[in-house]
Every structure is written in C-alpha cells, then in structure tokens.
Amino acid sequence: MFRESPIIRWRNYSDRYKLRGYKCTKCSATYFEYKGMCPCGNLDFTEIDFSGRGKIAAFTQIHGGPEAFENKTPYCVAVIDLVEGARIEAQVMDCKYEDLKIGTEVEAVFRKFYSSGEKGVIHYGTKFVPKF
C-alpha cells in the first residue's frame, strides 16, 4: 500500500483543528466537515465552529486497530451528537471505558492522532473527553 501523502490530511486541517462545521443556509442542517449538497438541495453553507459539547449516541472500544493505530489499542470511539445538531464519530479518551454510557456528556479536546511513517507528518485533530 502507498505511504500516505501529507496533503490528503492537510486539506482538512482547518475543519479538524477548529472542529469546524457547515450549516445549510436554507434548512439549517449542520454537518461536521465538507458536505457537497444538502439533502434539501442547497449548495450554500455558512461555516460554524462547534462548541465541542455533545452526548454519546453509541460507543465501542477497539482492540484490533488499523496500521496507523495498531500500537494505540485499546481505544474508544463513539458516535457523538453535538449540541448544535451535527453527529460525528470521534475517539473518546482520558477515561475508564467501563464508565462510559450512551448519553454520557463529552467535550472536545485537541490531540495528536498519528504520524505518517517514522519521518512523516504528525497529524492532529479533535478527540473527546467525558464530563462526569
């Protein structure tokens, strides 16, 4: 398989660093990251920076990771409903997995993800921590 090109990730840096979303100017639906056409048919979006607060809608702990994360297992990933309405998938950390529940409130934090190879670019993004 190819080594990952840094530019693939760079394109999304501003969305990921700021947890930036897009709000449809017609129906007000919100999305995390790029959404080409809203189901309402509109192509115009305004940028919104999410507060980073949300609730867990589904969660799991991954024990067998893909290549980029194989040394980081086990780690928790959740589907999170942000208070602004968008739903996203992200890692939840700094907690005991056993303490998490559907409905647990979480908050966004800026964290390191992984690097593309030994001398590669280090990628950062948004993870979440619970607010017990």
């Binding site: 398989m1 990730r9 999304n12 999305y31 995390f32 990251e33 809608a57 589904a58 969660f59 799991t60 702990q61 991954i62 024990h63 067998g64 990771g65 893909p66 290549e67 980029a68 994360f69 194989e70 980081k72 086990p74 780690y75 990933v77 959740a78 589907v79 739903r87 996203i88 998938e89 992200a90 890692q91 997995y97 559907i102 993800f113 990628h123 993004g125």
Partner: protein, 392 residues
C-alpha cells in the same frame, strides 16, 4: 389508457462454481478466479465461447497486491476477448456483478453472462486487511479517527442493544447457528460447531463484538452463469432470478437517519420484493450478510423476517436453523463459510441456487421455493437483494 404490462423479470441460473473458502496459500487471485469459472462452465455444460459478457467483483486486490484491471483478467482466464468489467461496491461487489449481469441480459446486449467474485486476503497482514476493509467506510470521517470495520458494527450493536434490550448471549446465537450450518457445508472455511460460551470467551475485537462475532479473513472465488429466460429454459434451468434491488446510503454512520436499521437494506429488499411480486411471507430461506453477528440481526429485520427491534426472538426460538421456520445462512454465512469479500455475493447466489435445486445436502431446506440473498457493502453504504425462484 392502456394498462401497463406487468412482466416479472426472469433470468435463469444455468451454472454455478465455487472454490473451497479458507486460507488457500497455494492459489493466487488469478488461479482462484479460474478455478471458480471452470467449475461454473462445467456445471452449465457450456463452452466458454458461449459467454457474451463477464462481470467480476473484487475489492482489495488493488491495495493488497497492486493488481487492478480484473475485468480483463477474468476474460483472459478463459481466452476470451469479450466485454468484461470489474465491479466494486466493497463487500457487496459480488452482488453488484450479479446485478450488472442481469442488466446486460435484460437490456438485450447479452444472452449468456458470467458473474464472478474473487478475493485474495491472506497474503497480507491482519493490520493491512483492517486498513483495506476500512476503505468501505468514510475514510475522512471514520477511518481517520481510528475506526475499523468491526468498530463500525460495534457502534451499531451498542445503539441497538441499548434501544431494544438485545442480550449479549442472544447475539452470540447468530454465530452458533452459522457454525452449525458451516459444519454441514463442504466448501465452508470453518466446518465446526461452537457454543455461546465459545463466542463470549473469545478475544475481544471491538466491544461488544468478539472474534467469534466477526467473519474471518478468507481467500475464495465464486462464479455464476446466467442466461435469458428463453435460453435458460431450453437448457433446462430450474432456478430463476425474479427480483433485483439495489440501494445506497451515506458512507459514514454519523450521517445516517438512524443507527438502529440499515435503510439501504430495507430499500433494496422492498424493490427486489416488488419486482418479484413477493412479500417477506413468501421467503423460504435467506442468505444474508453477517460480516458481524449484529449485521444478521439488521438483515433479518430489513428483509421483513422479523419486525424492527424484534429479531432476537427468531434466535431464542431457533427458527433460523435450516429445519426451522425461517432458515437464515444455510451456507454458514460469512462467519463460518468465510468472507472473501467480493466473492460473498456470488456465494450467496450459489447457495440459494443449490437450495432450490435440492443440492443442499445435510443443510437442505425442505420444500424451498423462494430464496433471497442480501449483500451489504461497508456499514450499509450499499445493499443489494436478489430473489431466486424454483420453476418447473
């Protein structure tokens, strides 16, 4: 106003061929595919030159070995220079190849078609397979966050179990039943029975899914030969495809309307049933996509074999065994028969054909007249359903 003519589509199955599924170190991608192709030709008792078009499903060869252009490979295998196309829709690639074959016949551009699926997965490491399979999800919204394929279905399981109170032990019954069937299928990867404890005590992969909730990494190929109704009748075919439904949904789970059902599966089932003029009550058996145990729960609900949220009772009452009221995955499913990703959809079609021909051996469903296959790509981004009928 003239009445609209209602023609039930009928495409005949004139030949089936499948390799043993498993870790087949001595055969590569090309040899596996050829093996299935030759078996199908042998079963159809036709010469390769009679094939007008070929459609071949493959998902990961481009990543795993660098080999693309599988369409030309499939034709070259049989020394043909005919139209031949590779089809990809993640784990639903096989069913998509089948559907393209049906479309070629229905359009009149072909009279006899070969639809195949092939996957060579054991040449690369488990981490590489995990990475490659995750290509079926949303690379940016899911893959970047460390999500894996089992992880996506584990997320679905967590939401479903909370909402409907599905118990962990009941979920395990899916794998127990599929291994029971696998033990009665000579081409299955795992021909051994297991218990609920086997599932509960095996290694955790993505909580709550353990190793025995997950389909394995498998090499294998499967081919099916289709013909127009007229030609198939002349050749004495017993089994016909009368419905084909395909639907799609968002790549990522987060952008779906609900985590509790797969809308693509529901939509594909409804359009296939409508085309075939049947309802869920007419289904004698189903071959469904149990890439993970929870996926079979979603599948039987999408097919209408159980109401939304009520699939558990089919498993506690053991109705999904081959001799039960609603047999599901008599092949052993993806769990026990194995899951050579793009070959799975064709394998399902072959199992349906064998059951309707009465070639199911120790897992034969008695009096089967109508079978359905349900094949899913990704976590539900693609779903493809076919209806098979026995006709005399």
């Amino acid at each position: 106003m003239r009445m609209k003519r209602v023609d039930i589509m009928k495409v005949g199955v004139i030949g089936i061929g499948i390799t043993k599924f498993g870790e087949i170190w001595e055969q590569g991608l090309r040899e596996l595919l050829l093996d299935a192709q030759l078996r199908a030709l042998n079963d159809a008792k036709i010469d390769a030159k009679q094939i007008d078009s070929l459609f071949t499903g493959n998902m990961i060869a481009g990543l795993a070995s660098g080999q693309l252009h599988i369409g030309a490979m499939a034709a070259e295998n049989l020394n043909l220079n005919k139209p031949s196309v590779r089809v990809e829709g993640a784990c639903a690639s096989g069913s998509l190849a089948l559907r393209q074959g049906i479309a070629a016949i229905e359009s009149g551009s072909a009279d006899i078609v070969m639809a195949s699926g092939v996957e060579k997965m054991t040449d690369i490491s488990t981490e590489q397979v995990t990475t490659a399979l995750m290509g079926a999800g949303d690379e940016e919204l899911e893959g970047f966050n460390g999500l894996t394929f089992p992880g996506l279905y584990a997320l679905l399981a967590s939401a479903y179990m909370k909402e409907y109170g599905l118990k962990r032990e009941v979920l395990a019954e899916v794998s127990v039943k599929n291994h029971f069937h696998g033990a009665r299928n000579p081409y299955a990867q795992y021909q051994s029975e297991i218990t609920v404890d086997t599932v509960l005590n095996s290694t955790m992969v993505a909580d709550p899914l353990t190793l025995f909730d997950c389909s394995p990494i498998t090499d294998g190929a499967a081919s099916i030969i289709l013909a127009s109704e007229k030609t198939a009748k002349k050749m004495g075919a017993e089994v016909y495809i009368t419905g084909s439904g395909l639907a799609t949904d968002t790549l990522s789970l987060a952008r779906r309307k609900s985590l509790l059902r797969l809308d693509a599966g529901i939509n594909a089932a409804q359009s296939a049933y409508k085309q075939a003029g049947i309802t869920a009550k007419d289904v004698s058996f189903a071959e469904v996509h149990d890439c993970f145990s929870i996926a079979e729960i979603y599948a039987v609900e999408a097919l209408g074999l159980a109401k939304q949220g009520e699939a558990a009772q089919l498993y506690t009452s053991k109705q999904t065994y081959f001799d039960g009221k609603k047999p599901v995955n008599t092949s052993g499913g993806l769990k026990a028969c194995g899951h050579p990703v793009a070959a799975t959809g064709i394998k399902q079609a072959i199992e349906a054909t064998m059951q309707l021909r009465g070639e199911g051996g120790k897992r034969q469903v008695k009096g089967a007249t109508t079978g359905v296959t349900y094949n899913v790509g990704g976590s539900g981004g693609t779903a493809c359903v076919h209806v098979f009928k026995k006709m005399k």
